[in-house]
Every structure is written in C-alpha cells, then in structure tokens.
C-alpha cells in the first residue's frame, strides 16, 4: 500500500467534515474519491497534502507517517496535486509554470545563481530540458513560451497536470480533473491520465463528479457522505449500491 489513511477525523469547530475514515491505495492504482457536495472529499485532499492537520488519525505514505509535515515538505516526499479551479501562475509562461515544479530539484545555491556558476547553467539547462520533455508528453511543447492564462481551459488543465508531474511524484492527487471540460476533452484527459500512470509509475487519487469518467478511469472508489464512508469497492458496483444512490438522489423510502 502506497497510501494509507488510518482512522482520520477532521472537525471544524462543531462540524465534523470527516469521521473516522480509513482506506488504502495500492501502487499504480487509480483510486476515485466520490460523493455528493460537502461530503468531505476536498477536505481529505487537504489533509493528505498537509494543508489541514487531522483532528485525529494518521496519513501514512510509503510506510512513513506524514504527521506535522508542512505542505511543501509533503510534495518533496512525492505527493503532488492539482486544484479544483485551475491555479496556474498567471504572469508566467507555460514553461516557467512547469519549471516551478523543479524548484526543489535544481541543485544550485543562492550565491551560485548570482554569479552564474557553471553548475547553475548546467542545472538550469537540465531542468529546462526535462520540463520541455514533460510538456512534449502532453503535446504542449509548442505553447511553452505562451502565457499560461492565454490557453484554453482544457490546455490549462494539461499544463497543471504537467506542472504537478514536474515535482516527480509517486502519488498524484487530481481534484475534479474533468470539471468544466466538454465530453471530447474529458475523453482525451482520461486517456492521458491512464497513459501517464504507466509512463511515470504513478498512483492516482482523484475526486470526480462525472460518474462516467469515474467508471472508465478508476480501479477502485470510495464513496463519502457527510464525512462517512458509505461504500468502498469497484466503481460499477458503487452506482448500484442502495446507500450510494440514496446519498446522491435522496432516500425516498424513509420519508
């Protein structure tokens, strides 16, 4: 198991966003985290990435507890993420956006950059070549010098994933990757994520509302409702589960 969520609870004041949730993600799995709005999916993401501290319970990544690590330290351990509403660096080029992912991997110091040491030039060249390779993988190399905000929504989504991959992650968290995309863009994105999973040796944990997309993509899903786990298993079984249907459509029988 690459990621283990061990009995995690998160309270915001009196509200329990996540209640005693446990699940495990196997290496190279595409794992879906689904549930109606307010179910606690994004809260779970923020706990994994270290933005929130769990009220109780633990996140264990590759056998190592992530307690007390700051978000940027967790990224360096190998967990990268994308955001629900795309958050690219708006003033920067597509290439610079991806280069940010290499920030902690470029091996040169502050003084070396001021006096332009050979190592600075070598390292900058190395990370630029790597960034272009990643952009090329997503078919975005020709946009490298465009401003990120000038791209279409679908292209921005790809740059965001490329940027996350630049941090060299083992676990990639995608927060609603298909949101705001048309069916053909969604289809294309699904193909890319599956391909990247194999080529980059990734484990993917994704939040998604598009059940067709989830069905196509995920090896396993976890359904949350009001912070509680109501289903864990294969995606096609999830959509037949009475409790899941009740959570999404309302429980007509008990009214």
């Amino acid at each position: 198991m690459i990621l283990k969520i061990d009995n995690v609870t998160k309270n915001f004041g009196g509200v329990t966003a996540i209640k005693e949730t446990s699940f495990s993600v196997a290496p190279k799995e595409i794992f879906g985290l689904i549930g109606p709005n307010g179910a606690g999916k994004t809260t779970m993401f923020n706990i994994i990435t270290g933005n929130y501290e769990p009220s109780s319970g633990q996140v264990i990544f590759r056998g190592e507890p992530m307690d007390g690590l700051k978000p940027h330290q967790i990224v360096r351990k190998g967990i990268a993420r994308t955001f629900q509403n795309i958050r690219l660096f708006s003033s920067m080029s597509v290439l610079d956006n991806v280069l940010i992912g290499f920030d902690f991997q470029a091996r040169y110091g502050f003084l070396e950059s001021i006096v332009r040491f050979p190592r600075f030039i070598k390292e900058e060249k190395r990370i630029k070549v790597r960034s272009m390779e990643i952009l090329d993988y997503f078919g975005m190399a020709s946009f490298a010098h465009e401003k990120a905000v000038d791209l279409s929504y679908g292209q921005q989504r790809k740059v965001e994933i490329a940027r996350a991959l630049a941090t060299n992650p083992e676990l990639l968290l995608l927060d609603e990757p298909a949101a705001g995309m048309n069916p053909s863009e969604t289809e294309e994105l699904g193909v890319i994520i599956k391909k990247a999973r194999n080529d980059f040796d990734l484990t993917v944990l994704l939040i998604e509302h598009d059940m067709k997309f989830v069905n196509q993509m995920c090896d396993k899903v976890l359904v949350l409702d009001y912070g509680k786990t109501i289903f864990e298993g294969k995606p096609h079984e999830a959509i037949q589960d009475p409790e899941v249907i009740a959570a999404y459509l309302g429980d007509f029988h008990n009214d």
């Binding site: 940027h72 990224v75 660096f89 502050f110």
Partner: protein, 345 residues
Amino acid sequence: MGITVSKNQWMNVAMVAFAMCFIVFSSNYFDEYSVRILNNIAIFIILAVSYNLINGVTGQFSLEPNGFVAIGAYVTALLLVSPEAKQYQYAIVDPYPFVMTLHANFVVALLLSGIFAALLALALAAPVFRVRGDYLAIVTLGFGFIIKILAINNPEITNGSLGLNDIPEFSNLYWTGGIAIIAVIVILNIVNSKFGRAMKAVRDDEDAATAMGVNTFKAKTLAFCTSAFFEGVGGGLLAALLTSISPDLFDFFFTFQLLIIIVLGGLGSTTGAIIGTVLVIGGSEWMRFLDEPMHLFGYTTTAMPGMRMVVFSLILIFIMLFAREGIMGKRELKDFFTSRKKGEK
C-alpha cells in the same frame, strides 16, 4: 556544450558597457548640479530595484525601505565620521565609548551597512511573514516608524534628532553608478533563477506555489533580505553623498517616493524600476523651470512655486490611467526583443 554567448547576453554586456561609459563621461564633463542629480538617480536605482524585488517580484506589499535605508545610512555614517568630528557633534549626551572607536573604510562601511540591514531583515522575516496582504503593509510600516523613533531616542549612538554631520563625501558617480550596475545585475540574476521563479510563484498564487514544493517562507525571506541588503548599501551611499543625516530624512515619505517609482515603472519589472527612478528623481529636477516665471504666447506668468509638483502629479495620474500596470507592466527590456523574434520562428 561550449561557451555559447547568446544575442541576449551580448546585449547585456553592451548595456553595461554603455552605462560605464556614461558614468565616466558624465563625471568628467557634466557640471556639478547634473552630477549631483545623477548621483541621486543612481542611488535611487539601487533602492528601487531592490524594493521592487520584495514588493513587485515577490508581491509582498511591504513599506519598510525607509527603515533599512536609515540603518544603512547610520551604520555608514558612524563608521566614516572621524573621532575628532564625533567629539564635538554629540551635543545632547555623551556618546557610548564604543561609538568613538568605530571606524572603517568606505567599502567595509557599505558592506557592513548592507549586512546589518540584511541580518535585521532575517530576524524580522519570521514575525513579518506570518501575515499577508494589507496586514503585512501595516506591520512593515510600523517597522519604519520604529527605526526612526529609535534613531531619535538613542542620542548616545545616533546623536538624536540632530543627526550626524561631517560625513566624508566619499560617494561619487563611480561609486553610486558602479554599485547601481552591480545591484541591477545581481537582482536580475536572482530573478532569472529558480529563486526568482519561486518569488514570482509566491506573488501569483502562494498556495499553488506551496503545492509545487516551493518553500514560500524561504522565498519571501530571501527576497526580503536581498532587498534589505541593497537598501542598506544605498543608505550608506546616500549618507556619504549628503554628508549629513538626521532621522527626519527617513520618514514615510521616503518609502512613498520609492513606491511611486516602482508602481510607475511597473511592479515586478526591474527595467521599469530603473525607468521609474529616472522619471521621478530626474523629472522632478528637470521640471524646476515650471516654478519660475514663464513667457507663454506673449503673456508672462509670475513665479509659481510648487507648479512642477502639480504638473508632475498630473503626469503620474495620466500614466496610471493609460498604463494600469505601470510603464513596463511586468515586462523587462529583453521581452520586447524576444517577442519580436517570435514571428520569425
């Protein structure tokens, strides 16, 4: 890969060479008044370019430069004023004995000014960067006030509100211009490295930067300390140019002037900060003729002191109306050349 020199690098070398020639030419052939303005411009280029690093590039709206400039000016002044001159200056109270023994040459004094300011910035970074946005502005504004008040209320070191006089006039165009060139190169090299990218990422979206593994606190602290270092050095140059300093010199208006410069030039653009300095510092001198009697279309107006400030403010308003992001926006000079090349590709 051999050493390849790109067109861009040639252009940089050419510009540095041009700036050096200009410094040599103007210090030999310009009159004293022009040289004095150029000295001012050079010092303010150092200050504006470094202030732009924290405020424009890193996007941390801080209002502290007057504090760091004051520290730099006082450190340099204390190290340069001769013991004999100190003897008769301290009129309020006797100075601490160590004040009398402080002495160093100009280069060491400037370096110590910068290092002292940078160390203080390092100590300040932890409390200051706990807050963002408007709160950061208030906290740093307070810092500027505190430095000024400390300067007034510690006459044993600073000679209180009387300030320090008889500072040897070491600053000349070679020093101010030369250090300005160094400051611009150093800051551009930082901006065009992973450190500069991290700073820009913090400006654009701090949470997203964190999610990319950027230590945002470190990026902000680096920008803050570098900025403080050059503000300290600039303060030292200013002290050795004016030959006398007092706490009043470093009030909020000083920061305000720098803020106008970098906003006018374009927040985040180093080229813009340079252009802004020339326009604001040079412009307010060149427009002095507006204060004097004028002959317009046969009429003769009386002298109107302050007229140049009115015109200057109007120009500022018009520039900000028609170029919201300042003259350069976030672009640098080289962007104009690279964007033109895109068509050929």
